[in-house]
Amino acid sequence: MNFDFSADTTAMREQARRFLSDRIAPGTVRRQAESGAPFDAALWSDMARMGWLGAAVPEAFGGAELGYEALCMLAEEIGRTLAPVPFSSSIYLGAEALLLFGTPAQMRRWLPAIADGSVVATLALAEGAGEPAPANIAARFAAGAISGRKLPVFDGGAAGIVVVAARDATGSIGLYLVERGPGVVAHALRTLELGGSAVALDLDGAAAEPLPGATGWPDVMRLLERAAILFAFEQVGGAQAALDMAVAYARERFAFGRPIAAMQAVKHQLADIYVAVELARSNAYHGAWALDSGGGDGAAATARIAATVAYERAATQNIQTHGGIGFTWEADCHLHYRRAKRLSGQIGSARFWRNRLIDILSARNVRGEPDGLQ
């Protein structure tokens, strides 16, 4: 048994962490957001150069083919640093949709451009409030064109192509590729997150081609389940960073002649956060195994729930541990808090994934070890 990342991935993690800590200092992310630019283009192209954007893309399509374990690790490191780039949109959602459902021609056309960073992709699933569900998809595809309103579309301001969920004439839900162009209008959208380029996307007869592999709602869920594991790693990375910030601050900050880290109230709250993060990390590891092996009934939902809860709690506690300074704009605590809340709802809230998990568990007719254990 080996329930850990490979030596290769671990070595790559060290490089990635060094690279990101060189590039992202305290304040960097906030200033990037305040600049109004949709993302850090220089960082993005460096990531492309290192093969991160094509980590799970086969070499045949211009990828680095490092594998999903590597991609999970990168997601965690990006989550940790809040790197201001459209990684989740373009890679977990855009590239994954193409890999799962695209034709060879579509993959040849778009994956190299995603992997080299020249094109950003994203997913347009949501249409306002509501969990991912067929009932919440009104956008229509007919005669090569889509009409409808999609929001929020994260990184939509940066995206060159958008994978849009829509119904065809039979009512069946599919995924469609839409390029920026006529019939596509993006309205910038203020969100809880600081920065990024979320938009409301008005599609009015926008040219669209089907991703033919996606033949109904279960395929959309397949995409979301795979993405959920990658999001979980990003959330775990963020949660760990928030916990680390809180611990470091508590050790430095003195009150009543002692570091506040010596106070049980602070110690016990952070111990609880540590436990939540550690359980989330372990569940994410199981998710990584499932992503690679295709196994693991409920692994995605489990990883996603644990990570959502852990990140929200860690980010919230980090502010509280910082006290007054914690709720100021200049302290970076709120960046994690905002990101945590944005990630909570994207691709469905914890409530949505809990429901899915219970459905999966109660549908198991043969109980046993669903995770590949001997």
Binding site: L125, A126, G128, A129, G130, E131, P132, A133, A135, N136, L151, P152, L189, R190, T191, L192, E193, A198, A200, R251, E252, F254, A255, F256, G257, R258, P259, M263, A265, V266, E312, T316, I319, Q320, G323, G324, I325, G326, F327, T328, W329, E330, C333, H334, Y337, R338, K341, R342, S344, G345, Q346, I347, G348, S349, A350, R351, F352
Partner: protein
Amino acid sequence: MDFSDTAEEAAFRAEARAFLDANAARKAASARGYRSRALDAQAIGESRLWQARKAACGFTGIHWPRRYGGRDGTQMQAIIFAQEEARYDVPVNIFNQSVGMAMPTMMTWGTAEQAGRFARPALFGEELWCQLFSEPGAGSDLAGLRTRAARDGDDWVVNGQKVWTSNAHFAQFGMLVARTDPSLPKHQGMTFFILDMRSPGVEVRQIRQISGTSNFCEVFLSDVRIPDHHRLGAIGQGWAVALTMLANERFVVGEAEGPGAEDILAFAESATLDGQPALQDASVREKIADWYVQEQGLKYTRLRSQTALSRGGVPGPEASIAKLVSATKLQQIAMFGVDLLGQGGAVMEPGTAPLNAWFQEAVLYAPGKRIAGGTDEILRNIIAERVLGMPPDPRADKGIAFNEIPTSAR
């Protein structure tokens, strides 16, 4: 046990209503949603006018002595007026601290000249007061403050930095506590002053909060001169004066404002989950019921303490309970409101996010409510020590000179 007013209370309530009806409009019933109330020049002007009107008619400083412009009324009358005023659409109140905290402290510790000089202008909204207590290194541990005041002839020369000061950028005066002898133990070397905010060397900067708004200021004090006749209380008595002011705070602070149980209930009636009204979801019901129960508990706790006050009692731990419970609940409700919106939860665009993005705004300002005015942790300590009689935390700073207390690991 009954909710009826006594005859005297009823008479006062009628009087208050008559005043309010004559001077303000009733709140609209449907006022649900986020309202950003920027404290711009106009809002401040309206607040001053309303304060002056109330002062002229005896509806502020209700339990102040008459000689300072008050009514010599009861705590209960003050409560009744606040209950009634809450039903009207009146300007934002920026004089709470002046009337409820600063001036009562002045009347307790000040000379007759001081109280005589400052009470009326405060009451009539002519002079606004702020509280210069917290410092970057002295928040929960307020007595750890390091702003220095050194005697120089008839003046004191003050250097240091204060923080988390509400209204400092348009206040005329501040209640300032500073350290006058760092060689004494922590609580002994402080002295209290009245600071004219227009003095040279006073620099005020607004602090931007997570939510983007700025309710607090930093105040930098560089060789600021305060004449000795603006000292409040004796030299070295600063901590006792500050405690008086903090004790009066208990009459002033209320629950954290924001979406409450009734609001999230109304929202859940209209919102949809999996094609059903969200209020049919058992988990939604459970959470809303618990928040409602907490709110009712706070409300009746307040009534119990008002009953005690009306019998001459002193405020108990209700303010600590109210702040602890309401701030946590606010954050939970806000987070939950966002969760109910699923994939759309993160959207803050006013036209798109329900209730003018009330839940999202509250998500951003709730963390501050759990910190400002006493963190959750400090409130629990207060309850454990003052109500339950549990021992104080072990102190590393006890009985040693202030300037020998450790302040960093280095």
